[in-house]
């Protein structure tokens, strides 16, 4: 039982980071109709920038954390302007390949600046574990879940009440109607990429604090696909639920099936679930079903 709870907790922690990254993913899809294969690399870039500020420039962690958020917003703007704006209206495969190319370029930049080796964050969160009943939880886990929930909550409020959030929802719903109401669709697209980069970076910083950072962190982005498909590509609550489910599923299969099947099941289980979901309920739990007619 304790083993189960322990797995559950670590699953929820990783799942909440999945949810954060998935949020950025869903946001881009909702506002611009583009799927972003570079989301994992956004996460990696964010983690490395924060690490660089803390270790090389000796900026205190919390200041570096907020500075990283500022930097990623700028990066998001630049990437949208340079690479993605020319692609508006192009077929899906072109946009998929563009984001894949983008991910290669980002990986290259990170390796040129920081080298290919594994790097660890200096100890920021106290190592003293916290006991919740029979389960032991390290403090960095609690911080990650806390921040993930905070950001997910903030963005839910942002979309519901702020004018920019409402503008984004309007664009997502109908670009032409939004345009004729005086909403700048270009501005909304730029904002979507900024927010996506920002939330991915926050996820990356916490993931880096848990596991260290290396170049394969970008792979984390691919695992977000099962999460978003499970919840529905265009639903924010779906992203949160899907992220948590995939995180827990991964932890449980890793804990229970790995000893039987010999390793690596946690990597592949989300994708098996993904295929099953696509076969029986292709639009996920909350995704909008596209009705096609002549």
């Amino acid at each position: 039982m304790d083993f189960f709870l322990q797995l559950l907790i670590s699953g929820i922690v990783v799942g909440s980071i999945y949810a954060l990254v998935a949020l950025g993913f869903v946001l881009i899809y909702k506002a611009t109709g583009v799927i972003n294969f570079a989301q994992g690399e956004f996460l990696m870039v964010g983690a490395y920038i924060c690490l660089g500020m803390v270790t090389t420039l000796h900026i205190p962690f919390w200041i570096a954390f907020f500075m990283t958020m500022a930097v990623t917003v700028v990066l998001g703007l630049v990437i949208e302007r340079v690479a993605l704006r020319p692609m508006i209206g192009e077929p899906i495969i072109a946009i998929i390949m563009l984001t894949i190319g983008l991910s290669s370029v980002l990986k290259c930049c990170v390796q040129l600046v920081w080298g290919p080796n594994n790097r660890v964050y200096p100890q920021i969160f106290s190592q003293v574990p916290i006991h919740i009943g029979p389960v032991v939880v390290s403090q960095v886990y609690l911080w990650s879940v806390g921040f993930a929930l905070l950001f997910l909550g903030l963005f839910t409020l942002f979309f519901r009440y702020s004018p920019s959030g409402i503008a984004m929802r309007a664009v997502a719903d109908d670009q032409q109607a939004a345009l004729s109401m005086g909403i700048s669709v270009k501005k909304v697209f730029a904002m979507a990429w900024c927010i996506a980069f920002l939330v991915a970076a926050v996820g990356g910083i916490f993931l880096g604090n848990i596991n260290g950072v290396n170049i394969s962190l970008g792979f984390f982005g691919l695992k977000v696909f099962p999460a978003v498909i499970l919840g529905g590509l265009d639903s924010i609550p779906g992203a949160i639920l899907g992220g948590l489910i995939i995180g827990v599923l991964e932890a449980l299969t890793g804990g229970y099936l790995d000893p039987i099947l010999g390793g690596g099941t946690a990597e592949v289980a989300p994708f098996v679930v993904l295929v099953v979901i696509l076969m029986i309920k292709p639009y996920g739990f909350f995704g909008t079903e596209v009705i096609e007619k002549v």
């Binding site: 390949m97 563009l98 370029v105 040129l112 098996v272 993904l274």
Partner: protein, 350 residues
């Protein structure tokens, strides 16, 4: 060799469908094919190695172009399908002692079956969702390659021999080149003919407007599955040829990176142009070789380049993809057509 002063006149559908559009092109294509068989006799082993890799890549790229370029179904799992072909052929020849001449088509058939299984969701899924489904196929097959140890030997990899057919062993780069180039030419001819006939027309109709295609009596499910089957068959053949050439196959040869490389080939070459698959394959095989030669020549002045080579290669790869998508979205095939069109009317190009 008629010079087409004012374009090609076609007065019937039959004329429009002939294999060689003009006598001029017929002459040059046959001359090119003859050159492919004669010139290698005078080439070194390194050039032949690159040429072999290009031929294998052409076969794979033709496959994915039929699926993605002509039928409009994005596949992110082509690398894994090539892996299935490689493992099938390796397992059949090495562990069961099946002759290569049987193992090669068998690799194609097994891969086609796998491809069709993962193509089943294609009836309900389109665009992004299908791309993600094939991505899942990639990871599931990769997992199986590592963990089905009785067949694949896991991460240690499978050792494969050079193929021999009726006692004739393809054990040098030159002999192997004749094998790969012949199969590549056959595959190109097959693809060219496929596109001219009913299934090919159906593929294009599905890509352009699948609802209209269905209304016109195209059986969507049948042709979508067929596209998956044909595409994976060619991938399996490419995988088998690759396995017997490199002689050791491990799961890390067939990662998502390979799938992306093949997708990049047809984008750079030209989606939906058969010739594009060939241009793309040549481009993507030559690119790392050229980069390697450049980095070797520059390593004297900049020693760090050697360490950073993998990263730089990846970055340039990404930048080229982005550049092509932004500035040349129709690929090299389209650019070549534009150049031809320019010269046809030169100097009166208006």
């Amino acid at each position: 060799m008629s010079a087409n002063i004012c374009g090609d006149y076609k007065t019937s559908y039959k004329e429009d469908m002939v294999l060689f559009q003009t006598t001029f092109s017929k002459f040059w294509i046959i001359a090119f094919v003859l050159a492919l068989y004669v010139v290698p006799l005078f080439l070194g082993n390194y050039v032949l190695y690159v040429a072999n890799m290009i031929c294998i890549a052409v076969i794979g790229a033709l496959g994915i172009n039929i699926l993605t370029g002509f039928t409009g179904q994005i596949s992110l799992g082509h690398g894994a399908f090539i892996g299935i072909g490689a493992y099938t052929s390796g397992y059949l020849t090495m562990k069961l002692g099946v002759p290569f001449i049987v193992a090669l088509p068998a690799a194609g058939v097994v891969t086609a079956l796998f491809g069709m299984v993962f193509g089943i969701p294609s009836l309900r899924l389109k665009g992004l969702y299908l791309a993600i489904a094939t991505l899942a196929a990639q990871f599931i097959i990769e997992y199986l390659m590592v963990h089905l140890e009785p067949i694949t030997n896991g991460v240690l990899g499978l050792l494969v021999d050079y193929p021999s057919v009726f006692g004739f062993s393809f054990d040098t780069d030159l002999k192997y080149f004749y094998l790969t180039v012949s199969i590549a030419i056959l595959a190109t001819l097959y693809a060219k003919n496929l596109i001219r006939t009913r299934p090919g027309r159906a593929f294009i109709a599905i890509r352009d407007r699948y609802i209209s295609a269905e209304v016109m009596g195209v059986n969507l499910f049948k042709y979508k599955l067929m596209a998956f089957g044909i595409s994976s068959f060619l991938a399996g053949i490419a995988g088998s040829l690759w396995a017997h050439y490199v002689t050791i196959i491990t799961p890390e040869h067939f990662t998502i990176g390979v799938s992306i490389e093949y997708l990049a080939m047809i984008i750079i070459g030209g989606l939906g142009h058969l010739i594009g698959a060939i241009y793309g394959a040549i481009f993507m095989v030559l690119l790392p070789e050229v980069l390697r030669l450049m980095s070797e020549s520059m390593s004297g002045q900049f020693p760090m380049i050697v360490n950073m080579f993998a990263a730089i290669k990846e970055g340039i790869f990404g930048a080229i993809i982005i550049g092509f998508l932004v500035y040349e979205p129709d690929g090299l095939a389209h650019r070549w057509q534009m150049i031809k069109a320019y010269w046809k009317l030169w100097p009166f190009s208006y």
